[in-house]
Symmetry: C2
Subunit: 413 residues, 2 copies
C-alpha cells in the first residue's frame, strides 16, 4: 500500500491537548465576559453564497476562500463574522427586537501570507450591537472587549481610536493606503497613494489629517472617550510611556475594511507591537442596507484569539492543564471488572479518571501518568482487593497511603 | 444600489440566540463528561490536503467538499473528525505517549441531501482511544458516549453493537449494501447486491450473517457487552420492549465507512427511530497505517449533536435561556454617565447586565426586556439619583422596591 505523507496545509495548524485545553479555557472566559455585558450567542454557517461576501472587504477580498460546490453554486468560506451577521439581521429583521446584541466565537478563513501568530484559519470573538446609533454602544463594545482581554490575564494593552468620518471626502483607495501606516510609515502611505494615481491635493489633505498637527481630538471621538472613562478606561496621550489599559486618540487609524462609517478602533499590546492589533472594530451604519431596504446602524468589534494566544504563550501567560486527575492502574488480568468499577465510581462522583487499558509493567504505567500530568494513582492488586482496600499514590510526591475503597471518593474530593 | 438577497445555502442554517445558548450548554455538558473519562481536547484544521481524506469513506466520498485553493492546491473540508486524527497521530507519533485519548467537538461538512435534522454542516463530538487494542477501550468509548447522552437529559436511547470481522470475506460493496438495511430492508439489500453484480453465493452468505437465525452472540461482541455491564450498561434483546439505556446485539450493523475493522456500534433513540443513529463508531485498526509504516490500533465514536438537538427540541428537552439577568433602564439624557456606572458595578460583581442604549419611552424598554427574558429592571430618574436610590423591578411579577444603590448588588446576588 502507498503511504500518504501526513502533512498540514501552509497557514493551518493542529492544537495539541495542552494548547487546546488552554484555548478552550480562553474561549470560556471570553464567553462569560460577553454574556455579562448582555450579548447573546448567534451561530452562522461556515459557507455562504459568494455574492453575500463580495464587495465588503476592499482589496482583501482576494483572500476569500471561494469555490463552486457540487451543485455548481458559487460559495465562499466565512471571512469575518460581521458580514454574515448583517445578512442574518436583514434576513430576519421582522422577527428581531432591536437593538440586537450578539456575540459569536468562531473560526474564519483568509488566504493571507502566514506570519508570526497569523494563520489562514483563526478564531474571532465578536460582539456587535445592531440597530442602535447610540455612542454608548460604541463605548460599550470597546469596554467589553477590553474586559475580555483583562479577564484573560493580559494587562499590557491599549486602545487606539479614531472616526472614519474624518476621512470623508477621501477616496477608498486613499483610506486603504492610510490603513497601512503601521507597516509602511507615512512616506510609504504617500508613495502608495501616488502609485494609485491619487492627485497631490488629496494626498495633501490625507497627510494633514493623519498628522493632525494640532492634536485636536474630534468631538465624535471625544464623546466615546468620555463614556469609556465611565467604563473604567482612562485617556492617555500617544506620547505617554504607560498607556496600559487606556485609550489613545490616533488620527491615522483607518481600518482597512470598506464598511466602516464612524468610530474605528484597534487594541494593541504595549510590549508586543510586532503582533499588530489583536482586536479591532468600529461602527458600520450602512452594511445591513446592502441586503435590505431598511437602514440598520451597527457597531462591533472582534478579538483575534490565535494571535493573542501566540503572544500570551511568549509572555508566559498560558497555563497548560493536566488531563484526568486520577489514573486507576491496571495490574492483573483477573481484576479488569474491578478496575472498571473503581474508575466508574470515581467518574460518577464527578472526578475525572482514567483506567490504563491493559495489564502492563507498572513503570510503563507510571511513565504514562506522568506524561499526562495525572495527579493521583489508584493501585489495586489481588491482596488489596481481598481486603477492600487500594493504594492511593500522589504521583508528584510519590507518597502512598492505603485507603478503604469506600473512602476513596471522599479522599479525592 | 442593488440589494443582494439575504439567503442561506441549502442544508446550512443559522442558530438564533435561544437555540445557540442551548447548543453551547450541550457542548459544555458533553465536554465535561469526555474530560471526566480522561479524554483531552485536540483541534485539527477545517481544511486538509484532499489526498488525506480520499479513499477512506467508501461511496460517500463524493459528498466531500473539495476545491482548488488560491495556490492551486487540492484541498478538502473536514468530512469527519477521525481521518484528521489518524493523520495527526501519524504525523506526531514520535512525540505522542500512547494510548492517546482525545476528544474533539467541531463541525464537519457533507454535501448530503438535507433531511429531517440532517444538515450539510453539523457538529460531531468525538472520543477516540488511539494506540490500544484493548477491548476495555471499545467498551469505555461506548460508555462515555452513553453518559454524555444521559447527561443531556436524554434517557430514551439504546446501543446496537456488532463486529465488522463477522463480514470478513464479504466484499466492500456487499458491506455497504448491508449498511443500508434500516432504510431499504433485507430485500433492498439483496437487490442492491444483485445490481452490483455480486454472485448468489456471496449474497447467500451475507443474508445468513445478517439474519443470524440462531442469534448466537459472537465472542468478540460478547466480551464488549460484558465490560459494558461493568460500566452500567446492561444487555437487552432486540425483541425487548424496554431497551432504554441498554445494549443490543444486532447482526446487521455494518456501518458504511470503509475503515472499520472490529467492534461497530450505533446509538438509536427509542422513540425517534426516524432520526436514524444519533451516535456511532467502532474500531479501526488500519487507518493510521495509511499515513505511517507503524501500525496503530484505535477505537472511537462520534455523537451527532445537530440531529440530537432537533430530536430533543421535539421531545421538549431544550430549555432556552434568557440573556442578561438585569437591565438598567435609560430614562434621562443627563444621567448617561450614572447609568454606565450602575451597569458596570453590576457586571464587576459578576451579574450579567444590559444598559438600554438611549433614553426612550419606558414601555418600549419594558417590551425589549420582556422579549429578551430579562428578570430584573433597574430604574433610576433624577429623583432616585439625588437620594442615592434606584427602583428594582421584578419584570415577571412587576413587583417593585426602592433600594439603596449601595445595596443593589447584594439584593441581586
Amino acid at each position: 500500500m502507498n503511504i500518504i505523507e501526513p502533512r498540514l496545509l501552509k497557514g493551518f495548524r493542529d492544537y495539541d491537548p495542552a494548547e487546546q485545553s488552554a484555548r478552550q479555557a480562553m474561549f470560556a472566559t471570553i464567553q462569560s465576559v460577553f454574556e455579562r455585558f448582555g450579548f447573546s450567542p448567534l451561530s452562522t454557517p461556515t459557507l455562504e453564497y459568494r455574492e453575500i461576501l463580495m464587495g465588503k472587504y476592499g482589496e482583501d477580498e482576494k483572500l476569500i476562500y471561494s469555490f463552486k460546490d457540487n451543485g455548481d453554486r458559487d460559495v465562499a468560506m466565512r471571512y469575518d463574522l460581521t458580514v454574515p451577521l448583517a445578512r442574518y439581521v436583514a434576513q430576519n429583521q421582522n422577527m428581531l427586537t432591536l437593538p440586537f446584541k450578539r456575540y459569536q466565537i468562531a473560526p474564519v478563513w483568509r488566504a493571507d501570507n502566514p506570519q508570526k501568530g497569523r494563520y489562514r484559519e483563526f478564531y474571532q470573538c465578536d460582539v456587535d450591537a445592531v440597530g442602535t446609533d447610540s455612542v454608548l454602544a460604541d463605548a460599550e463594545v470597546i469596554a467589553c472587549l477590553c474586559q475580555a482581554i483583562s479577564a484573560l490575564g493580559v494587562s499590557g494593552y491599549y486602545v487606539r481610536i479614531n472616526n472614519r468620518a474624518m476621512f470623508n471626502g477621501l477616496s477608498v483607495v486613499a483610506i486603504r493606503a492610510i490603513d497601512k501606516i503601521d507597516k509602511i510609515g507615512l512616506s510609504g502611505v504617500v508613495e502608495e497613494m501616488k502609485n494609485n494615481g491619487i492627485l497631490d491635493d488629496e494626498i495633501e489633505r490625507a497627510t494633514t489629517l493623519i498628522k493632525n498637527v494640532n492634536q485636536n481630538i474630534p468631538e465624535a471621538v471625544s464623546t466615546v472617550m468620555d463614556y469609556l472613562q465611565q467604563f473604567g478606561i482612562d485617556r492617555a496621550l500617544t506620547s505617554d510611556s504607560d498607556k496600559a489599559g487606556k485609550v489613545v486618540y490616533e488620527p491615522s487609524i483607518a481600518r482597512g475594511l470598506d464598511y466602516y462609517t464612524g468610530t474605528v478602533f484597534e487594541i494593541m499590546l504595549t510590549d508586543k507591537s510586532e503582533y499588530g492589533s489583536i482586536c479591532s472594530g468600529g461602527r458600520y451604519d450602512n452594511l445591513v442596507d446592502q441586503y435590505s431596504k431598511t437602514s440598520v446602524p451597527a457597531v462591533g468589534g472582534s478579538l483575534g484569539i490565535d494571535r493573542l494566544f501566540s503572544a500570551m504563550t511568549e509572555m508566559g501567560l498560558i497555563k497548560t492543564q493536566g488531563s484526568a486527575k486520577v489514573m486507576v492502574f491496571n495490574l492483573e488480568q483477573s481484576l479488569q471488572n474491578d478496575y472498571v468499577e473503581v474508575v466508574s465510581t470515581l467518574r460518577n462522583a464527578g472526578i475525572s479518571a482514567e483506567l490504563y487499558y491493559a495489564p502492563a509493567k507498572i513503570d510503563k504505567q507510571f511513565k504514562y501518568a506522568e506524561t499526562k500530568n495525572i495527579q493521583y494513582g489508584v493501585i489495586m492488586g489481588q491482596t488489596e482487593k481481598d481486603s477492600g482496600k487500594v493504594q492511593l499514590k500522589n504521583l508528584a510526591t510519590r507518597e502512598q497511603k492505603e485507603v478503604l475503597l469506600t473512602d476513596l471518593v471522599g479522599r479525592l474530593q
